[in-house]
Amino acid sequence: MLDAAPQHRLGSVDRAGIFPLVAEGLVFEAGGRRLVDGLDLRLDGAERVVILGPNGAGKSLLLKLLDGLVAPSAGRIAWNGRPADMAVRAATAMVFQRPVLLRRSVAANLDHALAARGINGVERRQRVGDALAMARLSPLAAQPARLLSGGEQQRLALARALALQPRLLFLDEPTASLDPASTLAVEGLIEAARHAGAATVLVTHDRGQARRHADRILFMQSGRVVEDTPADAFFDRPRSAAGRAYLEGRIFV
């Protein structure tokens, strides 16, 4: 689908040193409720991780904790044995369910993110052009980003993340409000990110999408990971009662 895009130029950049990502005893409390409850996790950066679970399980919150958007109430997150620093920040990117786009043109949105990461003028222009081509947004480069369709906006958000050449890409329900064609286009970009060397952690409610994009499933329930298993095993024989109920579409209380 996106085979004509110049993916090679975005290439795989190994700013190594961020893996393993280890979370220990992660807790997040708000309003007297424990929304993430003593969670342990280890990511080696080699697998495609998908987080599944019902609403309110803490999936998006876990992504935000890992990406440093919110601080945990307790526990620690270590990137290759150290706390998040600028090198970690430069090696990660996040795509939100609802794209956060600046009130600027499509190209200027890409340019802003790259400039913020200290990428110089010539390389910046190159990366903007490549990312636009990859997301098939080149004809819309000068258009105001906020006038794009929902699918185009999400492709732009992904293109912006990919232009940063992350080693780890967090994806928070990036296709939740998209039609099948736009979903396919966004999934193509996620694949492109993987080919460019990025590990992905994807939160989704779409079981088909989870099958397509998971090597490993984290199934969450009430702020805990109740099942951490290879994707095939999870879809064939989920170990937890909650996981079974979720896959069968039953309500599990």
Binding site: M86, R89, A93, M94, V100, L102, H112, A116, P144
Partner: protein, 235 residues
Amino acid sequence: MQDLGQAFATAWAMLTGFDPALWSVVLLSLKVSLGAVAIASALGIPLGAMLAVARFPGRGGVLVLLNAMMGLPPVVIGLLVYLLLSASGPFGVLHLLYTPTAMVVAQTLLVLPIVAALSRQVIEDLALEYADYFRSLGLGRAGAVATLIYDARFSLTTAVLAGFGRAIAEVGAVMIVGGNIDRVTRVMTTTIALETSKGNIALALALGLVLILIAVLVNVAVMGLRATAARAAYA
């Protein structure tokens, strides 16, 4: 008291005949108020943006104070600047009292809280919308402020417009620090006050019409700008 109709006719003749006395007053008014708004915007917009993104102890108190200062009476500002610039004041050596510069200083102090407080409100709303993107990008506070000011530029015209409206229409501050000296510090509002008290309604009326015209033109320009921006989803 002159007949109102005749006063209007004389005022119109002065305007269309480009009466030099009238237009020198208009030009000085514009110079002083635009100068004050430019300085207040250059200081007030970044200040408002910093207050929008910064979280520090006492921030609530600062915001209350800033909002309260929006309503400061111009005569109080005039008095303050007068005390600072008078011969016995700390800046008396500069000999700025009764000069257009003193009027710019007074109007800047008058307009600054308005521009800063309104900018803070506009930018804070945008900052909430962009917060996750900024954090995920690892953007520092200076970068965030610059981005927010640029992206809010069309909305910020409202803050600048409110400041200009306040400056061009005020009389108390410029009267005290300018002294209403003919051909030196006489601006539209002080001239209107003086000429009305002298019974020269035609000149006062002509200046009043210019003031209204300026207000309408500035609003039309800003509305046009914002409408263009809104069509491009930039506002």
